[in-house]
Symmetry: C3
Subunit: 478 residues, 3 copies
């Protein structure tokens, strides 16, 4: 038996929990679900600070209910935007003060990466309840828990994602988690709202597995009557080793049915669209209704949704036993009760040895020359006026060919145009050259020495000179 220890740890992204820890958490959730009203001594007298810099009634009430059912107390700030911050206070200062009042912090903030900073400064456990489009790990836990509860396992499930896959924080996080647990994911975006490339890249690069985009293979354009998908992530530990088989097998496989349909609403508030564009997207948005659920491949398909819904789920399916969305919301309470009690050290749980995390966590080297570059994400916390006073930009090198950096705070990608080394020819000026990012030079630079530039001007400003290929090109273009 292994003792799972989440005491004093923070949960900023789902990556902060191993698969084993998640399984253990679900086991405690089962226990809590069975006696929701008998947990009132577990966190007796502890205080949760519920800090919502952005309104989210559902999530906040779910966390507060969880804490109260555990016998704890809640201090709640949903007005912060209009008080401290208007006086110019930094997130770090707010975190330190709240950390000196409460025993655990739940934070929602529009700036991406904000929860990481709160966790760094609060001195007490912190749960991210959503930081912009970055992460919302307890939502992912509720989704996984529902799947696990209804289908007994996550391994080998076929989950279809439906709707706005572009802005859906929920679907991005859930896709990583599903991949880690060995599920296969079918993408069925509303037109123009496809899964972003960086999510697809991360899926295959970090979780193994294969991305299938051949629409013929997927039956998308095949004239077949089954569920058309635009792309699919095929897990490497798929029971039938599907990824190794000819395409025709995949179609057959899909015909056996989808385990869950994960639907999201059009996230209007996440993109600055023209009213016309928004109207078009809304009109083209697919609707899950009674008729759709009558199709053979959806016979045993759970219909899931993070709520609130708008029009993408017809009210007529609410009473259908396959509709899971209200159950998902209800299960948010025991999932969060289990999480809070573990993080406060008020409960512990042991799991069988055989529950192991799926694969080792990918190690990414830290980018060491970060002072000159900034995260390209304008709503990353590292770019905010009140925060740059104390936050140093930080990046991980998540890919080399081509070089891709990832912001430690908001996990956005930075794809540099030019590269150089801090250790080239013993640093003599003559050879202090910069190169194109997609050139062969990337293979000769050690990650520790890598320097990246977004523009040639940046490279020149730091005393680097173009290599001969770039110089030649520049001449030609003149």
């Amino acid at each position: 038996m292994t003792n799972i220890n989440l005491h004093s740890r923070s949960l900023v992204t789902i990556d902060d929990l191993s698969n084993g820890e998640i399984e253990a958490l679900f086991s405690l959730t089962d226990e809590m679900s069975e006696s929701l009203n008998e947990q009132s001594e577990v966190c007796r007298g502890k205080i949760m600070a519920s800090l919502f810099f952005e309104p989210s009634t559902r999530t906040r009430l779910s966390f507060e209910t969880a804490m109260l059912r555990l016998g704890g107390h809640v201090i709640s700030a949903i007005d912060i935007g209009s008080s401290s911050l208007s006086k110019g206070e930094s997130i770090a200062d707010m975190a330190r003060v709240a950390g000196s009042y409460a025993d655990i912090i739940v934070i929602r903030h529009p700036w991406e990466g904000a929860a990481r900073v709160v966790a760094d400064y609060a001195g007490i456990p912190v749960i991210n309840a959503g930081d912009g489009s970055h992460a919302h790990p307890t939502q992912t836990l509720c989704d996984l828990y529902t799947l696990k509860k209804e289908k007994q396992t996550l391994k080998g499930l076929k989950i279809a994602f439906w709707g706005d896959l572009k802005h859906g924080r929920t679907t991005h996080s859930l896709s990583y988690a599903l991949a880690r647990f060995g599920a296969t994911i079918l993408f069925h975006p509303s037109p123009g709202l496809e899964m972003p490339e960086h999510v697809l890249r991360k899926l295959t690069a970090e979780c193994g597995g294969k991305l299938e985009r051949d629409t013929a293979a997927l039956g998308y354009a095949s004239g077949e009557k089954f569920f058309p998908v635009e792309a699919a992530y095929i897990t490497p530990n798929h029971p039938h080793q599907l990824a190794m088989m000819p395409d025709i097998c995949m179609q057959v496989e899909f015909k056996t049915g989808v385990d869950a349909l994960y639907v999201t609403r059009l996230q209007k508030e996440r993109f600055v669209a023209s009213p016309t564009k928004e109207g078009e997207l809304q009109n083209a948005y697919p609707v899950v209704d009674k008729k759709l659920l009558e199709r053979k491949e959806f016979k045993k398909t759970l219909v899931m949704h993070p709520l609130p819904r708008v029009d993408e789920l017809a009210y007529e399916i609410d009473a259908d036993p396959r509709s899971m969305y209200f159950k998902q919301a209800a299960r948010g309470v025991p999932v969060r009760m289990a999480l809070i009690s573990l993080m406060l050290g008020d409960r512990n749980i042991t799991v069988p040895e055989e529950i192991k995390p799926f694969g080792p966590k990918t190690y990414h080297p830290t980018y060491k020359h970060g002072t000159e570059i900034r995260c390209p994400n304008p709503i990353c916390i590292s770019n905010q006026e009140t925060e740059i006073k104390y936050i140093r930009p930080e990046f991980r090198i998540v890919n080399l060919e081509p070089p891709i950096l990832e912001c430690t705070y908001c996990e956005h990608e930075l794809r540099p145009k030019f590269i150089a080394s801090s250790d080239w020819h013993e640093g003599t000026l003559e050879y202090k050259n910069y190169h194109k990012a997609d050139s062969h030079w990337i293979r000769k630079i050690k990650p520790d020495n890598l320097i990246v530039f977004t523009t040639e001007e940046e490279a020149l400003a730091q005393g680097f000179k173009p290599d001969k290929h770039i110089a030649q090109n520049d001449e030609n273009s003149e």
Copy 2:
């Protein structure tokens, strides 16, 4: 002894409680009042969701105080307007989610009928803390409790209503309740703010009793120096059988004094007035002051007010023992404690057999052909964009000559202009006629077959033809 059972029931309007249940509730309130601070085990660990879509600090804090004094917890959402709803969520979805977190819901919403929908979908007991101008039953309970406590009985009391009787949700609800308990009501509106006709109709139609509008009889224009009223509702079980006596008796009766003066402020926020109009109404608004209370008929008169007051109660009478308004507010806590504990099934109460509801509850047949008509109240929940997806309009037929329908949600009246039958002459097209609502045909149509129209166009669109009277009229008018 009868056991009063409110367990798992909801309170949307005061009509949801029988007179006997109200008496029982008051008996428990007495018990709670005597030991407010010793009730902390009654609802230990239960959670109340306090959902205020409209600000109302006083009412919210009263409910929250009640729950906390019972040992329960509160999750509170006063920011909902700006979060879930802006994402287009329906009231039903919100109710289902909150119902899966909490044990009881208290809801305040600007849309009339919203509390009914919440009660329909939440799956847990729901208390209406005010839905637009529709109902606010716990305010009525506090008012009744204060009267009962101070005067020992409600039966036969003479209560004068003073001020804005037009927009006063409080006065409408209270008048029905007082009538049910056998009180007589004197209406003294501020000019232009008279009690609406539909309230007066309901009073006499449903509670029996008689409406007296003869100002001479009421002493209004009689030159007498006593309190002038514009109209009076005379209860049928008035101790002296006043309703049967000549008018002169009534004046004498009124001279014996008024038991309570129920004052309300000018409800500016409930009507869209021009600033000029508002100023005029404010200036003409009657003020209760020391001088007024010196009059003989007010010698033993309780001064009541739901608060907040503006200028209609002079501060100089605050210390007067007849001033009840702060007591009314204070008693809101034990009244709500009693109510919550009964609805959660954490307390029960038995009452003597002889406490019976006053008369049988009026039965109104349901209107069966409701698909084509809509509630005429623009802020009825059944007319809201996010709600029409799942709410079917529903009406009760509350009167036949002339036909009056009442919306099941907001209880607004619909007075159709034209009528027809779904069962006329075995439905042959030739006789598929529509008639004027005030014609003799209404007596020939069974309520189950009644079809109503607001305009001739509606009737024609549904394939009906004008009867000969209408046809003739139409010709003449051309």
Copy 3:
């Protein structure tokens, strides 16, 4: 041993507590600090109403945390501005209603003097959590407690005030308190943000001590390299009897080092400045950084700040052991726990006889002819439309030569231009004269008979005539 009794008392300004009571409170704070999580039976079941008419997350959460750690409950209204008040409710009515729900009230309000009115009407203990620029006594208690805790005593400390001394409610209150405990205060304002004259006057008039403004004596312009100050308040019970010594001693004294540097941010929200002016003030604002703290006189100096900071404290000093600002915030919880438990009568504390208040509290006669004058402070509660209906202006005569009145609510000064007596020559009209406020007549008028005027028109309107000096002057000026 003396039993300290704060039961059922209110805390509106720091003057409501004697020095002995403050010492006793700190002793209980020490006890609470040592076992923060074991106080949950102290106020079990009591309810605190947290009424914030102005946002202040930090202060509110500190109070709520304190109450919850004591086992009490909290009802919280941070939306009041937009509900009751918009309906025109008075502070007094709000206080009476909240007082009938809760056991203790914490109030924050933008109107100066509001907390006094709440305390007058609530019927339960009230704590002022900030009323405009008037008072915020628990902030002062936290500041004093930190000084006491770190330096063991308050007597004889040298505290430097740094930054915006003009708008800083915090610094005004703290300066009075420090003076009462026998500390010396050095003023180092940002240019244009000097300590107001009325604060300096009150310091010397009420606490004894001496104000030193000779910049040479203070070393301000002396070319010396130590900390320059603009003025200093020298306590009368300074250990070395500094006030009696020649100036040169003071410089020497200051060189021995400053005990604490009390820094405040530029309180932008407290003054209506042109953007240009604000920018200038911000640019000229002094910054406490690593370099400054390296100076010899700051070797053992605590850096204090009420938070939130903006740019006046560099982040680089956060880890310095002399930085106290996060400790100050953290200590707010046990200080408030001690205070609340004493005011609710749930704890009591005895102190040694020798702890005596510093000097007797100054007695100021009440101004008896207050009906015609109003407080000159436009945001004083006595000047608000909803409050003038019941609040009578009230003043204390705090100085005679020249005459100065102080508003009982907001404690603003009123300096009249003209004076008269209600008892002059037995009130014969012939001698009913008014005089210049700075004339010798002030010495002949008994405080009980004093009548003051802001303008000659006021005096004339009340039937007074100019004395011969004024009359002559008026003629000359024509």
